[in-house]
């Protein structure tokens, strides 16, 4: 099916915490490290601000992959936020997989403000992975049409 599609451009939503990952994303820009334009970043104060509702909403509205980036465990600007994130996302991603949504479409990564290169590499990898999976076909027909 996917073979027929000439060039599939997935929609990727990236939630980045303000203190580490958003700064890391800025750094990959400052260093001119490229990653695909499919990635659109939403800035949140902390990865723990990301409500499972946001991720479901993104899938519902047509996202093909959702990635969440936060400070490394132990480095959270708010001390403990990312630890809660890790538990929440562990359960949520597992649940989404349980419902039949490929695990590769969700990802949690720790990217520090110094890891511009890691940010770009992560995004390149994630976009490649989701592109390979193809359109989030599973949900396409069921999506809430606006």
């Amino acid at each position: 099916m996917q073979v027929n599609e000439e060039k599939f451009e997935p929609t990727i939503v990236a939630f980045c915490c303000n203190w580490c990952s958003y700064a890391g994303a800025d750094l990959s820009g400052t260093n001119r490290l490229q990653y695909p334009a499919n990635v659109k970043i939403i800035r949140v104060p902390c990865s723990c601000r990301v409500n499972p509702m946001f991720i479901l909403r993104a899938f519902q509205r047509g996202a093909d992959g959702v990635i969440l980036c936060g400070c490394h465990p132990g480095d959270c600007h708010y001390t403990t936020g990312n630890y809660f994130t890790r538990r929440r996302m562990t359960l949520l991603f597992s649940m989404l997989e349980f419902l039949g949504i490929e695990k590769e479409r969700t990802r949690l990564e720790w990217v520090s403000a110094a890891e511009g290169a890691k940010f770009a590499a992560t995004m390149n990898d994630f976009v490649a992975t989701v592109t390979k999976l193809g359109k989030n076909r599973r949900l396409e027909d069921l999506r809430c049409k606006k």
Binding site: C48, R57, F84, R88
Partner: protein
Amino acid sequence: MQRIGVFVCWCGSNIAATVDVKAVAEALGKEPGVVYFEDYQYMCSEEGQTKLQNAIRDYKLTGAVVCSCSPRMHEATFRKAAAKAGVNSFMVEIANIREQCSWIHKNKEEATEKAIILGRAAIAKVHLNAPLTAGESPVTKRALVIGGGIAGIQTALDIADAGFEVDIVEKKPTIGGKMSQIDKTFPTLDCAACILTPKMVEVAQNEKIRIFSYSEVDKVQGFVGNFSVSIRRKARFVDEVKCTGCGLCTEKCPQKKVPNEFNLGLDQRRAIYIPFAQAVPKVATIDPDYCTMLKTGKCGVCSKICTAGAIDYKQKDSFIEEKYGAIVVATGFNPIELNKYDEFAYSQSPDVITSLEFERITNAAGPTGGTLLRPSDGEHPKKIVFVQCVGSREDGSGCGKTYCSKICCMYTAKHAMLTREKYPDTEVYVFYIDVRTPGKSFDEFYRRAVEEYGVHYIKGMVGKVIPQGKKLMVRASDLIDRKQLLIDADLVVLAAAIEPDKSARPLATMLTASMDTNDFFTEAHPKLRPVESPTAGIFLSGCCQGPKDIPETVSQASACAAKVIGLLCRDKLTGNPCVAHSDELMCNGCSTCEKVCPYGAITYQDKEFRMPDRTMRTRRVASVNPAVCQGCGACTVACPSGAMDLHGFSNSQIMAEVDAICK
């Protein structure tokens, strides 16, 4: 409906070369609610800001979207400009089309399309923005300094000099810290006591400063400007007010076999003791682990001879509750334990010692009266080997530290130089991996040790120390001469790595201040805010933040004091308005949010509510203290009913962004 203006910045060619800025402005101009759009070369310039302000006035804008560089660069600039033109700061959003668009994409078409989408997301958010104003809270004009070493002393003195009250909490019976144990200080070689003890006296005499010695912080509550702290005053079994510090008891106490921690166990003290002659406060303390009276109820010698009647065997720990506006952490360092480094035979020979023990042995007030004598037999050592980097710069898999302890190169040079000066017939070897002497007059100091005093600096590491008879056979490599050496030394001195005091970790938990993996406190910013903790109102002084020598510690201590004074000078604090808030009508009062809040910002109260049927009902609801909340949002996700939301990053705002991106 908002009236939104869109401003697309070229950033010279930084954005304009990759993104078709005109197309972006035009596309965004078609979005609902957008009544004005413009593109300009440098939005952040004076001229650019004026454009924003004029548009606000001319088009009666209620909000604005600036498509430009990262909000981390100029969000504050544009928000300030908008506020001057009469639009609330928080009605301005930035679409990051430089760092996260033009700089990472090459294809102009792609980049332009993405810039438009990012702009749309920002517009969608502004539609749901509401003006925010920051809350205010008062400031208690008193500071707490935890730790009474040179860092704590300097910080306290500077704060007190500015006219604010300061309390010092010190867990030992006296202030003074590590510096009081040191003999001479590099690079000038003036005696540590000569420069430290006047400062200790100054602290004692300063009316603004209270010293709680032999005390520990027990509990910390509150937030910047409004901390309330419970301090445990450990029972010292001596009335501090009555004790004159005459020291008679410390001479007459029959229990003489107590290892003297001030001299690192190199000699012994009594069960009742004053750590050293210049102690502040100069008050005796009974060591409950060794006092015969406290252990068996039989003795009482000190009580009998004390003319001031200061001895009180029944004394119990007491607590002091006090309010503070700022807290300074100055908990200092310790050399690491060397029991895992027995290739150097530290636990096998009394003549293998740490550098701090060497300080005591050469200190005129130390166990040998300042004469350099070996601990084993009291003889003059004729050959001394110094080993650098013991436990520092390790790969972290073992018991060592990954970092450089920073002070060892200089104090070892000092020890080597002083030894050669006082005892020219003593041969001194220093084994080093690198000699690190960045600091004013530091390298000159080290070169003097080599050139004027003839200290043998050998590039290489000691592999094994073998006690044999009265000698210590030191096997080491000389990497420059490509030789393995075997030196028959009389004394081996190990430059042990330094680590943060063990009390720091539990303290950090109490303060909700963050630490790195080595238990050093982290700074709010490693370069630009080096003396503040990321937790507002917590400041860092001295080695609790990282290894430091005395000059550096004192500078940091004064810098820290300046920051504290800056805080205490203010009457009110303005908070971050992007904080959590609870919709009381929806709140279940279930306490889930409270459990995930790292700042203790959420409390519960029973409130009366008028029900639809006009009856009154009392419900338990959450309320957020906006001065304490830092706006992480952990609570908003924990809340099942969605009653808890975050100003500036609300559920609906973020979902509007999601929708705009996924459209």
